[in-house]
């Protein structure tokens, strides 16, 4: 989208030597390479797994459909995340190949599905921190959507029995990148910054201090505490469980619903 808007300049890969150390799952994501030209340096990531309380749910759930088990009614938690919830809803409830390219019917089906999840939910929190809080306090025992770092938030609150799983239907993943603006006055410095953020010291800092997912394989090998909270052992296998999606269209004309359509549809979910 930003490339189409002509506001980014290509990354000169020769000026970002640490790029070669980035795991292919992140480095080769098609959303940051347009027509063979790279526009982003991926430095952190995460997915939207299902969080659950292992004290109450002793065997890991396998499917998003498990949310609807009668024994979990009123014990489900969600986060108020329009983009994430619609993406995940589309993955679970529609046949859309790309969760951000939805027809009107697919969007309607997604909202219907989200409303059905809301009916069995106890709360919709404003932030991941609040969802972690509700999990740790035992107010909810299972979630629709989530974040690997919530497991650490809960452990910090003394609730090390909160774990996550990637259900079989899959989920979405997000990838943050450093990009350079088209008319940036100091592109050399910008490239150095792009290189620095994926260098080992910065990556270890992001991983172990912020408990965020990192991309540099050398840094992953040296990770400490953060290694327990992300599935670094099988990053290639993660591709079959979680997918990176581009942002939904902003302008009409593609035959697909726009981000504005999503926000308006999300209001139906909020009001339900």
């Amino acid at each position: 989208m930003m490339v189409a808007a002509d506001i980014l300049q290509p990354i000169d890969e020769s000026k970002v030597p640490n790029l070669s150390k980035i795991h292919p799952f992140f480095k080769d994501d098609p959303n940051i390479i347009v027509d063979g030209v790279r526009y982003g340096v991926p430095f952190t990531w995460g997915c939207a797994p299902m969080m659950y309380n292992t004290k109450v749910i002793t065997s890991a759930p396998e499917s998003w459909a498990d949310l609807f088990k009668p024994e979990y009614a009123g014990k489900v938690g969600m986060m108020d995340d329009p983009l994430g919830n619609i993406m995940l809803g589309a993955v679970v409830a529609t046949d859309a190949e790309v969760a951000t390219e939805l027809t009107k019917k697919q969007l309607d089906d997604t909202i219907k599905y989200l409303i059905s999840v809301k009916k069995i939910s106890r709360l919709i929190t404003p932030s991941w921190g609040d969802l972690a809080d509700a999990m740790a306090r035992g107010d909810v025992i299972i979630t629709f959507s989530g974040w690997e770092t919530i497991k650490k938030f809960c452990a910090d609150k003394g609730a090390s029995h909160i774990d996550y799983v990637y259900p079989k239907e899959g989920t979405f993943a997000w990838l943050d990148t450093y990009s350079i603006a088209k008319d940036a006055p100091n592109p050399d410095i910008d490239h150095k910054l792009c290189d620095m953020i994926v260098d080992v010291p910065a990556q270890l800092f992001i991983g172990d201090d912020f408990i965020q997912g990192i991309t540099n394989t050398d840094a992953i090998a040296q990770l400490g505490i953060s290694k327990d909270y992300y599935p670094y052992d099988d990053l290639s296998g993660l591709a079959s469980k979680a997918t990176f999606f581009a942002f939904p269209p902003l302008e009409e004309g593609s035959g697909k619903t726009t981000f504005n359509d999503w926000l308006e549809a999300y209001e139906t979910f909020k009001a339900a």
Partner: protein
Amino acid sequence: MIKKNYLLIAPAFAIFIFLFVFPFIYFFLISLWKIKFYKLIRDYNLINYNKAIFNYVEIFFTTYSVSIPVAIITTIIGFYYSYLARFKTGRYGLVMIFIALITLFGGYLMKIYAWKTILGNEGVINSILIYFHIIKEPLTFLLYTKVGLIITFVHFLLPFAILPTYASLRGVNAIEIDSMKDLGAKFYHVQFMLFFQRCRTGVLASFIFCLLIVSGDFLTPFLIGGKITFIGNMIAPKFSLFYDWPLGSAMSFTMLTVSILIIVLVFYLFKLTDPK
């Protein structure tokens, strides 16, 4: 002398004009405009009001189904707290008022999170009840429900209800109440007269404070209300995520109008209690 008085109120008047009247007019004008691809278009129309009134009826109902009970409960509790402080506790009355006011220093968010700790599944209330074998499973209606919202709002708003009612009660002389009792008035006669007639201004001010604060709130329902949505929760993202200021403004003015209508209705209900 008159000129000097005008000068004295000039700073307050300027603040009122610049920080209240001008933004009020600005947002009213915006509410008549529309948005196209994140840009404001000066095309005067009532589309936003049409959406604000007809698309959010259920949300308005939910909002006022909490804000009206909260305003009534808080005003009544605040009035009796003030009554005790004014007539029944002697020199400790001012201490009671000081205690009520000092809770304002606690901070809004801190109170919300404190109530989450108290009302949650593993909170203070459920833990005590389970410890004494009064209940087996936690009481889930306490948190993420309207009950939890009402408890939190009433606690937060009590100082705002106590202040105006106490100010009104200070204008009542104890001799008046004694005279009523000497003439045969029962306790409820005295309370009725004080609440609906003698301290009407303070009681209505308290009701208005509570009603407007709750109706416009979006943080408490977000944190305590579970999946309950207030109109504030729909308005807030209009100014951020949606970047639809016209619709957000129209929704705000619609909410304000509904609140004013409720206040006018309550005012006339109070007038009905006037002696014929």
